[in-house]
Amino acid sequence: MAVTADSSASTVSGREAVGPAPRVRAGRSLLASRRRQIIAGLVIALAIGFVVFEGLGNALSYYQTVPQALAARQSLGVKSFRIMGTVGPSVKQVDNRTVFDISYQGQTVSVVDSADPPQLFKPGIPVVLEGHFAKGSDVFDSDLIMVKHSANYVPAKGEPASVTAQTGGS
């Protein structure tokens, strides 16, 4: 008589015939060795160190407002920094450059931008610019415009009146 032995579930002489022992929680073995733990720790420490060094180093003084920048004009020199203000009513294109003013708390700086403005850029919108003051003048040479939108959400003009009511949130 022949008995078919299915991979390991067969029995011989009443005793279970089995293969190697199962790998218990094999998925947890990725960081089992000391060397791998050290490498993983180093990679994570480097990542956190990079974020702390690169990010928090300038994140806590992410931008200066127009009055702050003008007050520190001498010390800033032609050093690169970020400046925040609201775009003035006049925005012109001159030789592939965008020329406009930004103002904040009554003080104004003229800006010449060499990069493409983002799609929300328009007169009256707050912006953060990256760049530096031009040598010997108070004109700001910008190479990046970032729009700083507010936390207010108002329906676009032309929407039905029923949806334009101001509502208090939580």
């Binding site: 218990v24 990725l30 983002p118």
Partner: protein
């Protein structure tokens, strides 16, 4: 080598299937039951309703136009990220406290942290997608973005720590301490836009005089419900997976010992067995 157990794999051998099969408590799902089914259905229903309201009912924004529709995804995802990390820290505290110490808190901590990391990555991705057309950049090192990236990195580190092995109790305690330290970043991240100059907008809802109109507000709140239900569904399944892993580990050790004994006995007086062939008797 047994073909049912490839090197490094976790394929379940036929004789061990009983361990897992006994866990199939409800309609063949080892981690599901009526509660998770209800949660899942409710999460899908509210997500569908949010999508319909967000895309077709609510109006475009005066400044952002159609881009405003991301407000029905990004804030809720970010909140679930915070919820995951806070839940992880609370469960870790319960594990560290001698009177409440139980393996269940450790399981909850790892489940919440994993789901939190998933939502944190989603927060960074959806924020980046929103940032490109509104701000004009995919990424900038402003306080909120930097701290969110840091939060993601430290909790990935926490999950890596949990995989280092060693004495389970010592590892659970070590991980719990790390989770409690890491969660300090959550309130700092949340308040970053008010404490420091930031490109990221301040909170729309949690301030003195919020300005957001009715349909937008209700749809936004509904998105919190939808993602909250999805979060709970994920944490419950992940928690139960941890229970199964524990059970598989414990019963697997028992089986391993049994099999070793069987191997020892076979060497003494039994004939060799072909795993796939036939045995003449």
């Amino acid at each position: 080598m047994n073909s049912n157990f490839p090197e490094g794999g976790l394929k379940i051998r036929p004789e061990n299937r009983a361990v897992v099969a006994s866990s199939k408590s409800w309609r063949g799902s080892p981690t599901g039951d009526r509660v998770t089914l209800t949660l899942g259905v409710c999460a899908l229903a509210t997500a569908a309703l949010t999508t319909w309201l967000g895309l077709f009912v609510t109006p475009p924004d005066q400044v952002q136009g159609q881009l405003v529709r991301l407000i029905y995804v990004h804030p809720a995802v970010a909140t679930m990220c915070y919820a995951g990390f806070v839940l992880c820290a609370l469960a870790s505290l319960a594990y560290l406290w001698p009177r409440t110490r139980s393996r269940r808190w450790d399981r909850l901590a790892v489940a919440a942290a994993e789901v939190g990391v998933v939502f944190c990555v989603l927060t960074l991705v959806t924020g980046s997608i929103w940032g490109r057309p509104t701000w004009g950049v995919w990424w900038t090192w402003d306080p909120r973005l930097t701290l969110t990236a840091l939060l993601c990195a430290v909790f990935i580190g926490y999950l890596a720590l949990r995989r280092t092995g060693g004495d389970p109790d010592a590892l659970a305690k070590r991980s719990a301490v790390v989770a409690v330290i890491c969660v300090v970043l959550v309130p700092i991240d949340h308040e970053a836009t008010t404490w420091w100059a930031s490109l990221h907008q301040t909170s729309t809802l949690f301030r003195a005089n919020p300005l957001i109109h009715g349909e937008q507000l209700y749809t936004m709140l509904l998105s919190f419900v939808a993602f909250g239900l999805g979060f709970a569904w994920l944490v419950m399944h992940r928690y139960r997976l941890e229970v199964l892993e524990d059970r598989f580990g414990e019963e697997g050790y028992g089986l391993a010992i049994k099999e070793r004994r069987a191997e020892g006995g076979r060497r003494v007086g039994t004939q060799p067995v072909s795993h796939q062939g036939e045995i003449a008797t």
